[in-house]
């Protein structure tokens, strides 16, 4: 028993995520229909408005990558999305 044990430690245990290099890239390739270069415009892949980018954020988050939806909506390129995914889930970068 640790000296700083609190009820949060007891009830909300942090899930451990296994290190899996390249998993973020594979997840994004699955969603976007291919492993596209970073400079590829999201609009060329069908994500040309704010609601569709919200759908992209949702598809990423349900795959256990807790990106900020607003950050994804603000993205215009595939590289921007990859950067955001690697930022929140570096063990899968």
């Amino acid at each position: 028993v640790r000296g700083t044990l609190t009820s949060l430690d007891v009830t909300a245990r942090t899930a451990k995520v296994a290190v899996s290099p390249g998993k973020n890239r594979r997840i994004l390739a699955e969603i976007l229909g291919g492993d596209w270069p970073d400079a590829t415009k999201l609009a060329d892949l069908g994500y040309d408005d704010i609601p569709s980018k919200a759908g992209l954020a949702s598809a990423i988050r349900v795959r256990n990558v807790p990106v900020s939806p607003a950050a994804i909506i603000a993205c215009d390129t595939v590289g921007c999305v990859k950067t955001e995914m690697n930022r929140v889930r570096p063990e899968w970068s």
Binding site: T6, G46, A59, I73, A74
Partner: protein, 397 residues
Amino acid sequence: MELSAMNTRILIAIVLLAAANHTVDAAGLTKEQAALLDNIEANAGRQAVLDYLDRNRRGKAASRASKAAAVAPEAPPVNSARPLYQDEIGRLVRQNERQSAPEAARASAAPVAAPKEHSTCAGFRFLLRRDWADMDFLGCPKDVADAIGAEVSFANDRAANNRIWSVNGTAALLYNSLADPVSPWLPIATSFGVYTTVNRLYNSSSEFTDGNINKAVYGLTANFLYYSDFMSNMFSFRGGMINDNLTRTSSTNFVAEYSPVIAPLVHTPIPLRNVGLPYWIRVDPSLIVQYNEVTGEDQLLTLNDRNRALRIGPQVAVKLGAYPGGSSFLDRIHASFVYHRAYETYSRSYLTWMTTAVGMNIDDKGHLSLAFTYSRGDDEDTGKFNNIYRLGLAGKI
């Protein structure tokens, strides 16, 4: 929590002891209380009550002496079936939470950090442009360098002895925000604004007065996107009124639109590569409410031959696009399809509109393209019935 019969009796005894206001013996009990405890069968329970009273008395004395924060008396030990280590964890948890309580209080009193703003044009902006076409109301407006500005001009046609004054411009106040919401009731993307457009042209010569223009447009727009991982919801409102001060007529329109977003099927591209096609397909359903009204002499809407119309109905738009980088024949094809059916409440009739388009890029960059469109139904703006196809070749160098 389950209490055994013995523990219940112990608790009853504690309550009676707390309520009693009599002289006490060495153990802190009156004669009546001692007699009551004697009736409790378990000696362990009696000892527990005595221990509790002892600790309580010492705690009160310490409180009176120091005026410090009152120490809550611990509950008397009860016969529990739970293992000892769980009780130990519970004691440590309570102890640490009491120790960290002042820190938690300070943390809750600290100001909550605002969510990070991701819009590149966040906040209010005042814009002056030629028209509202280059003001992307949901996104960000064009840069000033790329936009067309408002214009006031004067021309003097000496040959026709006509002087021409013209004013053409749009002023708008827009607000944009894109930030993760702190509450599910707040939208993740917000955009709203008001604008007014002035279009005036005055000819001094009476021969050219037919070309005079004196129109004023007032409009508003608001867009809200509510996000959740399961389903996002987009609400769009836009309306405007055009006043023609020469003909003394006006035209008003208001459109409200709702679009759901459910990844990966609705309003989100679906890759078709899994079935061997180099395309993505997107299905965008929406519910649209449209209101139109005209005022002035002999002014009627062609939608229903009345001066107002209210249409309510669903629309579905399907887009098919090729992924970039391909060079085969199939990679050059793109298509779209829109079907809108609405019920017009004043005339109690249905209006339908369908349009489809298929295009093919002849060169790799799409600078030369072939397009085929087919439209059928009641025109969205005029209500006039159409049944027309069109084949076109477009190019640019």
